[in-house]
Structure formats: structure tokens, C-alpha cells
Amino acid sequence: MASDTFYLRQTPLVVLLPPRARAGVLGWLRANLFSSPFNIGLTAICVILIAWVVPPLLRFLLVNATWSGDRAACLPSADNPHPGACWAFVRVWLSYFVYGFYPIAQRWRVDLFFVALAFGIGWLAWLRAPRRDVAALYFFVVLPVLSLILLCGFPLIGLPGVSTVLWGGVLVTIVVATVGMVCSLPLGILLALARRSQIPVVKWLAVMFIEFVRGVPLITVLFMASVMLPLFVPEQLSPDKLLRALIGVAMFASAYMAEVIRAGLIAIPRGQYEAAQALGLGYWRTTALVVLPQALRVTLPNIVNVFIALFKDTTLVFIVGIFDFLRTIEAARGDPRWTSPIVSITGYAFAALFYFVCCYGMSRYVHGMERRLARRSG
């Protein structure tokens, strides 16, 4: 029976493009920005906010900015009635912002320290780098010794001593932040483990330390260290000012870190401990191989939170009379050869930029790492 009737289609259906409104830029916009009346409203508000903030900011920071010249060049004039940021000021004072009072002839040592530090961080942070075990050795053993010799001096090998009183600017900010971060993680882990310990003495010591340190503001600790301590100990034994601040910051950060990590320890299900015990692992191996890797992964965002807070808290070392990055800017903006309202604003804008870049950088790196860890754990 010949028939033109088919029950099966013999030619494939023409593939149609998705509706225009669902593909490409338009589709993305629709899905992400205009998916509901509420989102449309939000988008509109954001656009207005951006239009309101960004152009004047760019105009101030870039378009109308003064890049070279002196104080007069930064002031309102006929051809620039609304002057923007006075980057000339930052340029002239930059070396002071970076090195503080560090002797000019010796500043290469600080540069070398920055390079060594950046190298260490890069090696450790790049997850696919070769020999990361060597990197850890370099970062936690070689680098501290090298930095100490470079920055403080070692007359025996021809590096004249540089008192920490002369340190300042970015150098101090980086040193205080790095020491705080590097000390606080291991100390925090130990304190958190001690607080969950079955041995009462260890447990109560940890509880007392954490609660005491968390109970007082950092500024008070620094203040006590700088104002009270010298009165109690003889002049010769009084520790270096910067060292006092470093100890204060490290103690502080480790107390906070301990609580963050304890949260991670609590989050580990009991079954994990029991399984480890069933396999015959002792306390230390259970902790090191089973509990801590999971706890640290859970608490990673909070750990970074502590780091970022610590980085910004470094500005408090001014209380001890140490000129950190922010303080050098404050000092320079009072320079009578430069001072004007624009110069002050520029100084603070520069500080904001610096802190933002550092903190945002840390945050992005860890975000990437979190995603990687999430993938791995499936």
C-alpha cells in the first residue's frame, strides 16, 4: 500500500535558535538583572548609585588629577578650577611612605626583603608550584632569619645595624601583619586544641589566655606594653618597641584564631573521631590526619577574615609611637610645603587604595582556593 503517510519523521526538524530574549547579552541581562520587578528595581537603584559615585570618583582620581609639580600645581587654578587628586604629593613622599626613616643608603635591604617575601608568598600560594615542601621550609625558617639579618643588620658581615625606631611606612605594616599572621595560625591551632583537651590544667590555661586577651581591646594591650612595661623593668632589659607591638598583635590574633579554629573542630562529626580510633590512630595522628584538615577547610573563610582584620589593625601600632603606613601619610600631609585640603584627601585615598588592594587580593586568593577544595571533596 503506497501512501504518503509517514508515522516517523524522516528529516530532522530544523534547529531553531533559542528566542533572542534568552540568548547572548540580552538573555544574560534578562536572567540576571531583570528577572522580576524586584530585581528590576534593584538594578535601577544600583545603576543610579554607580552613576552617582563612579564618574566623580574617576574624575577626582584620574581625569582632573595632578601628576607632577608642586603644591601650587595642585591648587585650583584658571585651567583646572576643580583639581583632582594631587598624585605629585604621593610621588614626592612615596619613599617615606614605603621606608619611613630607614637610612637611604641601606634601603636596598628593605627592597631585598620585599622581594624575598613576595617570592616566598608566591611559591607557597601557587598551588601547582614545584617542591612546595621546600617552599614551606623557606617561608617559615629561612625567611624569618634572612629578614632579621637584612632589616636589623648584622655588623659581622658588613650590614650596619638599623634600629627599629627608624622603621616605618609600608615596611612596618608588612612586618607587623606578616608576623601576626604567621604566628597566629599555629598558636591558634594549639590553643584551640588545648581548649578541647581532656587535661584540666591545659584546658583552663587556654581558656584563661583566650578569654583574657579577647576581653581587652588591642589598643589597651599595646598601650600597656608601651607605657607601663618600661616603668617596671630596668632600661637595659626593656624590649624593643616594635617587638612589644609584635608580641601584642601576635597574642591578640592567636586568641581570635583559636576560637575560629575551635568552631571548625566542633563541626567535625563524632563519627570521624570514632572511625580514626577504630583504625588505631592515636590522638596526634587523629588530629593531624583526620580532624585538622577537615576543620581548617571548614574555617578557611573565617581564618581569612581574621587575617584581613589583623592587616587593618596594624594601624594601631601608632599608639606605641611606631609610624606605620597610615601614620606616615598623616605626618606627610601636615608638611607646610604641601598641605592643602586636596593633599589630605589624596593621602587618605592612597591609603584606602593600598589597604583595599591588599585585603581584596587576600580575599580573592582564598576564594579561589575554597572553590578548588570544594571540587576536590566532590
Binding site: L75, P76, V92, W93, S95, Y96, Y99, G100, F101, Y102, P103, I104, S163, V165, L166, G168, F223, S226, V227, P230, L231, P234, E235, Q236, S238, F318, I319, V320, G321, I322, F323, R327, E330, A331, A332, G334, D335, P336, R337, T339, S340, P341, S344
Partner: protein
């Protein structure tokens, strides 16, 4: 037992040694270490502040350089320690610095209760007023009914109220938490005048958008004698610091300056001969060399030179000499005689 006694004796000697070291003459300590430790402000323009290379400059800084010059004949042998208002006095008490040269007011309670001594008034400061030139005022007594911007919670606020009350003038104050806000309000025209210590007023004026549109009125309504301070208990060291100041003032009175120092060395004036150490043993009596004052003048100049260079007409601050002029010119700086 004998061993224990020996150990105890050694410990006692060591402990006494530390005690003795603490009370040891500051001058010897400074000479041994090869540099003077000087506490300064670090962010007060004209008085103590780093320049772009991180070198310290300013009127208070010059004073420490003068002491270093008197001791070492080298004004660079100073380690400056930046101090805050909160930790400056402790730094002197604990020996962290040999001398504090940081806009510190000499008051009785500080002098008698805190274990520190003040050497000599190096700068007479006091509270003043800044007004807009367009107001055409010439005296603070014309500020009746004026609105004054002031930082709250400071002695400045009290002085202001006292001044207006004692002169039967009415006052409207606008207070702000920080000095920056108070200045902003003054600039925005919310007040007729801004008040703080007069040395600060000149610094603030340079930070205004139009510094030349404002002026500082001549009246000083409070006493802020600023003096370098040393730890109590080392009279010789206090003498050195005190006479460093008077040598600078004496040099200005006698017309000895950085530029004419060489010719003045052969001057016939006995005052100048004693000052410059051509005659007499005045430097050696303090444990210095007899040309101590000549070294000071060579390094930083006389009082007037240091003043004009750092805060006076030679600087952007342009502070008038006022109370800090020599007594012969209507000021309060009076050089004690060297004889």
C-alpha cells in the same frame, strides 16, 4: 653553703650594678653610645617632622641637634624617637630618650610629680584665634557675639569660655570631636573664628584652601610654655640641656650667628669671648669642651636663626616672633649670662 653565699654575692653585685647603671651620668652614657636619643613629635609641621628623605627637621628637632653638636661637634649624631602625647613622659622617665623636645607644656604638676625636670622655655605658646581677613578684625577683644569653632573636651574650650567671660563678651561656641572637623566648619563659614594653640593655628592656616584669606589675631589667651624635659636626678645633664637653650639665646642677643661665627671668634667683647669659649672654662665645667656653644652655633645657628628657618619668615608657617622675640624687642626670651 659557701657556694650559695658566693652566688648570692654575685647576684647582689649584679643587681647593684644595674641600679648604678640606671643612675649613671647621662652624658657618659650618651658619649659611650655615640648618639643622643631625642624624643620628638614626628608630625608637627615646623617643630618636628620628617622630610621626604626621612630626615627630621623642625624647631624642636634643631634643639636636639644643638645638644648633639655641643657634645659630639656633629648635629647628625641624634636618634629621633617619634613619641605621642600619651607616651612621651614615660619615655623620659624610663630612659627611652635622653631628652624630650616635643611641644610639651611646663606645668607644676608635671615638674613636681612625674619624675621629670624641665630645662628652659624654648618656645612660648598659647591659645590664639584665627579669623577671616574679610571680617576686618584687629583684636580678639572685638570678637563679641562671635561664633567660635573649637575642638571639644580640651583645655582650649575652657580657656575660650574664661576669656570671653572675663572680658564681658558673649560667646557662641560650636564644638567638634576632632580638630579637622572644627577647621572644616570654620572654612565652610559656620564660625567667625577658630581657636587652638597659636603654633597650631599657623599650621592649620597653611592647610586651608586659601591660606592668605585668614589671619591669626595677636592676642594669646593662655600660657603654654613649651620646654625640653629630662629625667630627674641627673643635674649635670639638665645643665647641659638648659645651657644649650641659653647659649642659642645669648648668641642672638650678642649678634653671633652661623654666618659671622668665624669673625666673632676674634671679637674683643668679653661676653662673646666667654660664650664662644675663647676665655674661661665654661664648657669643661659641664663635662663638654670649651667651644661647646661655638659648635652649637656652627650647627644650627642662634635662637633667632633656628626660629626663622623652621617656623618663622623663612618657612611656609610664617609665625611672628611675638612672645618669643628677645626681651630687648618686646618678647620673653632672655639669655642668662655666661660668666
Amino acid at each position: 653553703m659557701k657556694r650559695f653565699a658566693t652566688a648570692f654575692a654575685i647576684a647582689t653585685v649584679l643587681a647593684l650594678g644595674i641600679q648604678a647603671a640606671a643612675a649613671q651620668a647621662t652624658l657618659k652614657a650618651v658619649k659611650d653610645r655615640g648618639e643622643l636619643w631625642c624624643g620628638s613629635n614626628g608630625q608637627l609641621s615646623g617643630f618636628g617632622m620628617p622630610d621626604q628623605q626621612g630626615n627630621w627637621t623642625g624647631f624642636d628637632v634643631d634643639f636636639c641637634r644643638a645638644i648633639a653638636a655641643a657634645i659630639f661637634d656633629d648635629p647628625t649624631k641624634v636618634k629621633f624617637v617619634p613619641l605621642t602625647a600619651a607616651n612621651r613622659l614615660t619615655a623620659v622617665q624610663s630612659g627611652e630618650v635622653d631628652v624630650l623636645s616635643r611641644n610639651t607644656t611646663w606645668t607644676m604638676s608635671r615638674d613636681t610629680q612625674l619624675g621629670i625636670d624641665f630645662a628652659a622655655v624654648h618656645y612660648y605658646d598659647g591659645q590664639g584665634f584665627m579669623v577671616r581677613k574679610s571680617q576686618k578684625l584687629s583684636s580678639a577683644l572685638e570678637l563679641n557675639d562671635a561664633t567660635v569653632c573649637v575642638q571639644q573636651g580640651t583645655t582650649t574650650e575652657l580657656n575660650l569660655a574664661d576669656f570671653f567671660r572675663s572680658n564681658n563678651m558673649s560667646l557662641k561656641t560650636v564644638t567638634f570631636a576632632t580638630a579637622d572637623e572644627a577647621v572644616k566648619a570654620y572654612e565652610a563659614g559656620r564660625c567667625d573664628a577658630y581657636t587652638t594653640d597659636s603654633s597650631g593655628l599657623y599650621g592649620v592656616r597653611t592647610q586651608l584652601a586659601e591660606p592668605t584669606a585668614s589671619m591669626v589675631l595677636p592676642e594669646i589667651i593662655s600660657k603654654e610654655p613649651l620646654s625640653p624635659a629630662v629625667r630627674q636626678g641627673d643635674d649635670n645633664w639638665e645643665d647641659i640641656v638648659r645651657w644649650t637653650h641659653y647659649a642659642m639665646v645669648d648668641a642672638e642677643e650678642l649678634g653671633v650667628s652661623k654666618t659671622n661665627l668665624a669673625e666673632q671668634m676674634s671679637s674683643a667683647n668679653p661676653d662673646i669671648r666667654r660664650l664662644l669659649g675663647v676665655e674661661g672654662q665654661f664648657g669643661e665645667s659641664m663635662g663638654l669642651t670649651n667651644d661647646w656653644a661655638a659648635r652649637i652655633i656652627k650647627a644650627v645657628g642662634n635662637y633667632g636663626e633656628s626660629f626663622e628657618r623652621n617656623v618663622g619668615q623663612g618657612s611656609p608657617l610664617k609665625i611672628a616672633r611675638g612672645l618669643n622675640a628677645l626681651w630687648t624687642k618686646g618678647g620673653l626670651q632672655y639669655g642668662l649670662p655666661i660668666r
